[in-house]
Every structure is written in structure tokens, then in C-alpha cells.
């Protein structure tokens, strides 16, 4: 390994991605900053619509119109991706930065054979012949634990189960040994036993090759078992960040607190869950001030101002004027 082990692979600073729809501007990602370090896993949690996926797409440069990155820097090993020309960005995509999507049934083109889809990924970045490319694809399949990869290469996606497809997608992402992989809920659609297999592969990968990982999910429990750091998103913003242990054991933001309380677990068996009242607001008509204000029991007049990021504890950035400093677990 070269450089310091804590050399940041990716630094996102003040990222804003907005959708300019007819109904108004949707601030899907609004002032998001975080850092991902080599060999470590950053968990990005939040409820549906909180902007997790769009954050991922913004990094890899796949935000579709009417969406657009309006502000912020995405420094990938020092280069700002936000200001890259499309052709330059394309060269990075798939080779240095890879992404895996949620639904394994949809990420592979149903009418193309696996080898076609993997070989094109190889050839998109390296001028190698088909045979070499196929060799690479086969090795990658083997690496993610697909038995008899030679035969499987000739198959079509529908001949695979969901878990296998997701592994094909992972293998495809691995073809060029990327430095950063963005995983957008890759296990949500899978059964627990299969999810376990995928988590195992990804963990191994991170450990062995030092790839940095952004793991997007709405499932705190998965984050708990997998990630090193975690960012909690709410309505397009990161409301709390820190290491997994710190955030889960000492949540500072009321939202994080509520989220943790909502997860049924051994501790609260049979008792009512600590629920957050109300529902996630529409990003089109966010209330002024703190977006969580209307659901928060601590809310008061001070929350009418949009809270800035503060650091009430060391290395614990949070976006709240009433952090839950007293709480500990």
C-alpha cells in the first residue's frame, strides 16, 4: 500500500444536487460533506427519499436531467469530479469508481449475455482483445464465489437467481480494481441468508484490496455490522456523522435517536417502539428552518433557523441546535 493508510480516497464538500422540476426545485442533496478513507466503509443511512442515492449518483456523475450538481466539490484522490468533462468522467466510471445498484433483477440487461456485459466493461477502459477481457471477467466471477464461471459467462441474467446477479454486478464493478465502490442498497432486495453472503464478499474485498466503500442503506442494523463510519441523512442533509459505535451508542441528533428507537430489537421486545411522529416531508415543500422540526419533540423557536453543522463533541459533526448531549447508552 502506498501513502498513509488514512489518505482520503474521496472528499465531498458542500455538495448540492437539485432537481429543477416543473413543480419546483427539489433539493435532493443539500450541503452534504463527508470523507471516505482507503479500506474503510462509510455507511450512509436515512429513510426513503432522503437523498442517499442521489448523493451516490452525484459522485459518480450520473445525475440525470432535470437534476444537476449545483454546488460543491467532489475530490477523488485530489481531482474534482464535479468539474470534470463528461468524457473524462466516463473514463473514471467503472475503472476507478464503481457503483452497484439496489435491484439485482434490473441492473443487468436481460437480453445480453453475462460475458457481453462484462467484456464491454473491460474494453471500455482497456484496449484488450476479447479473449483477455473474457479471462478477466472469468477471474472476477470466480472471486465473488460464482461456481464454474466459464459456463456462467455464457448464461443470460434470467438464468441467475437474485443473489447471483448481484454477485455478477459486484464482479463487474471489481473488474478494474476501483479505489472506490458506491453500493446503493445492494442487499435490500435479497433474503437474509443471501444478504449475508453478499456482505461477506464485500467485507472481504475491503479488507483484502483496501478499496474504500460507501454503503447506502436504510437499515441501521446492516450499518452496525458492516461500516466503520456512518452519516445519517434527513431531507437531503447529513444531520449526524461519526464512527458507528459513537453514533449508534450515543446519538446526538433527535432524528438519529428516533431512528434507533424505531428498530425493533431484543432490548425493547414486546414494548411499544419509540416512534417518530409524522412522516418524512416532501422535499418540494420543506418547512423553513430545521427540516426535522415538525416531528421533533425538542423543537422550539430556535429551530426556525436552519441549523448549521456544529461539532459539540470531537469528530461528531451534527446539524441540530438541541443535541442530545446528556444521553448515553
Amino acid at each position: 500500500m502506498t501513502g498513509g493508510s488514512d489518505a482520503p480516497t474521496l472528499v465531498v464538500e458542500n455538495l448540492r444536487t437539485h432537481f429543477f422540476t416543473r413543480a419546483g426545485v427539489v433539493k435532493a442533496v443539500d450541503d452534504v460533506s463527508f470523507t471516505v478513507t482507503k479500506g474503510r466503509i462509510l455507511g450512509l443511512v436515512g429513510e426513503s427519499g432522503s437523498g442517499k442515492s442521489i448523493t451516490g449518483f452525484s459522485i459518480i456523475g450520473l445525475v440525470d436531467p432535470p437534476g444537476r450538481v449545483v454546488e460543491g466539490r467532489i475530490l477523488f484522490q485530489g481531482r474534482d469530479l464535479a468539474s470534470l468533462a463528461e468524457n473524462e468522467a466516463r473514463k473514471l466510471r467503472g475503472s476507478r469508481i464503481a457503483m452497484i445498484f439496489q435491484d439485482p433483477m434490473m441492473t443487468l440487461n436481460p437480453v445480453l449475455r453475462i460475458d457481453t456485459q462484462m467484456i464491454e466493461a473491460v474494453q471500455a477502459h482497456e484496449p484488450v482483445d476479447r479473449e483477455t477481457a473474457r479471462q478477466r471477467a472469468r477471474d472476477a466471477l470466480g472471486k465473488v464465489g460464482i461456481p464454474s464461471p466459464d459456463e456462467r459467462l455464457k448464461a443470460y441474467p434470467h438464468q441467475f437467481s437474485g443473489g447471483m446477479r448481484q454477485r455478477v454486478a459486484i464482479a463487474t464493478a471489481l473488474l478494474h480494481r476501483p479505489e472506490l465502490i458506491i453500493c446503493d442498497e445492494p442487499t435490500t432486495a435479497l433474503d437474509v441468508t443471501i444478504q449475508g453472503q453478499i456482505l461477506y464478499e464485500m467485507q472481504k474485498l475491503c479488507r483484502d484490496s483496501g478499496t474504500a466503500l460507501i454503503w447506502i442503506t436504510h437499515d441501521l442494523s446492516v450499518i452496525a455490522g458492516l461500516a466503520d463510519e456512518v452519516c445519517v441523512m434527513y431531507a437531503g442533509r447529513i444531520v449526524e456523522a461519526g464512527t458507528v459505535d459513537e453514533v449508534l451508542d450515543r446519538p446526538l441528533h433527535p432524528y438519529t435517536l428516533g431512528l434507533i428507537g424505531s428498530v425493533p430489537s431484543r432490548n425493547v421486545r414486546g414494548r411499544p417502539l419509540a416512534q417518530i411522529p409524522g412522516m418524512t416531508p416532501s422535499l418540494l415543500s420543506l418547512p423553513p428552518g430545521c427540516a426535522f422540526r415538525t416531528r421533533c419533540e425538542r423543537a422550539d423557536a430556535a429551530c426556525m433557523e436552519a441549523p448549521a453543522i456544529t461539532l459539540p463533541l470531537a469528530n461528531r459533526p451534527i446539524r441540530c441546535v438541541h443535541p442530545n448531549l446528556a444521553a448515553s447508552s
Partner: protein, 325 residues
Amino acid sequence: MPVYFIRRMMQSVLVLFVMSLLVFVGVFAIGNPIDILISPEADQHEIERATRALGLDKPLWEQYGLFVVNALKGDLGRSFVFNIPAIDLILQRMPATMELAITATFMGVLLGIPLGMWAGLRPESFSGKLIMSGSILGFSLPTFWVGLMLIMIFAVFLGWLPSTGRGQTREFLGVHLSILTWDGLRHLAMPAFNLALFKLSLVIRLARAGTREAILQDYVKFARAKGVSSRRIIGVHVFKNIMIPIVTVLGLELGSTIAFAVVTETVFAWPGMGKLIIDSINLLDRPVIVAYLMVIVFMFIFINLVVDLLYSVLDPRVRISESKG
């Protein structure tokens, strides 16, 4: 595969039975062919002789029974008007119609797919909207009217293309094709375009809808995330996906293209079998009508077979062989 065949055959036999019965009863109900064919000066004796000669003196059910028996032996009867086996008559005319229909289909595909994909990729652009408006026009314009307009413009005013007829043909594998000669091609251009217009609109819409749907799919996004160039994404990922509905629909449409050739053939005096069927209905030439329907049905079976084969080539999810246990 064999099961598929059997299914189709069963269906077709039923179609044939119903249609032939309909034609027999129909022609019987419309009128007496003798009344039209016979010379007006003929006397009773001559009328009776002609009726006997065409087998129309027997009761209807007997005529039909005789037809079925003969049809099973492969004899579909002789044309009342032309006095040659009806099937020969149709087979003689078929190449002209097939040539027209297939050329039209190709025109529709070759022009329609790029236009439709373009419109699908830029749904909001002016060109995209123009293409779509054009396709609605293509849907809406009556074929016969367009045909005459084409003749007016390209043959009469501009004089670029011959107005009507089939032009010079060349024999290829026993059939006469005009597509093999320059003169023939020039004759083919207008009627084929006329017939293609509807297909063209259809293909444009299918291609556009397919493209719009495909580019929203995760697999396209994933391909982009792999760093694949957009040329390849559109040319391979999107293209292969939109081909599935296009091939299916066009295949099924080829039948109606052949049928709708009736109109084009009438306008352009194209000596195909569509014109033949109209004339045969006018002259109550029953054997030809029945034989025509038979030929159409068999053509349908064949076309459907080809479509299904193509379909399974294009869409691996529905390989026919897969239904096998």
C-alpha cells in the same frame, strides 16, 4: 417446438374451416357468378350449361363437401374466371405482393428505428416532437389518398418515378422479382413507400416508447456506471431491447401489410394478389377467394413461426425450447 406447431396448426385449421364456410355461404348469398360472367345475350340453355360447368347446380352443402374433399387432396378448385387452378393464380401473383410488403416493412424498419430512437432520446426537442407529430400523420392519412398524392408529385409533376405498374422483372429461383432490376426498383419505390407509411409510424412509436422506457432502466444506468460509451449503450443495450416489441409487432403486422396491399395495389396498379382478391369478390370468383384466404392463413402460420423464432433469438427469456420440461 412441435407443440408450438401443433397449437398453431389447430388454430389455423379452425380459421380455415370458418373462413371457407363463410365464403361459401357468403358468395352464395351475394349473388350468382353466372349472372356476371355470362354474356348478356346468352339464352337459358347456355346459362344452364355454364352453371353446370362451374358446378353451381349442386346444392350448397354438396359444393362445400366437394370442396373440402378436394382441398384435402390439395386441390382448391379452378378459378371461374380464369379457368386455371385458383392456387396457381394466387401463387403467380404472390411474389409481387410479397415483394411489395417486405420492401415496405424494411423501409418502415430502416427509417423508423433511427427516427424513433432519436425521438425517444430527445423527447423534448423540436426534432423529437416533429418526428412524433409526423408519425401521427402517418397513422392518420388514408393510404389511398397518400398514394395518389405520391403519383401526382413524383410521377406527374416531377417525373422522377414511373407512376404505376411493376416494371421490369428478373427471374430468381423461379419467381419474378422487380427488386433485381433498376427499372423494377423505380417502380417499386412509390408503392412500397405508400404501404410503408403506416408501418413507419408504428415503428417510430414503438422505438420511441421502447427507448424512453429503456433509458430509464437500471441496466442502462449500470452500463453508464461501468463507463461504457453512450454509443454502445444506445446501439447495443437500448437497441436490442427495443427490437423485441418491434419484431413482434411488425411480424404480426406483416399479415395486415399484405392485406392492406389491396389498397396500394389498386392505386398503383400493382399486379399483386390484393388486387386479385378485390376483382375476385367483384366477379364472385369463389375458388379464388377461398384459395386466397387459405394462402393468407398459411402465410400467417409461417410468419408467426418466423416471428417467434426471431423473438426467441432476441429475447433469451422466452426461448421456445424452454417450455419443454
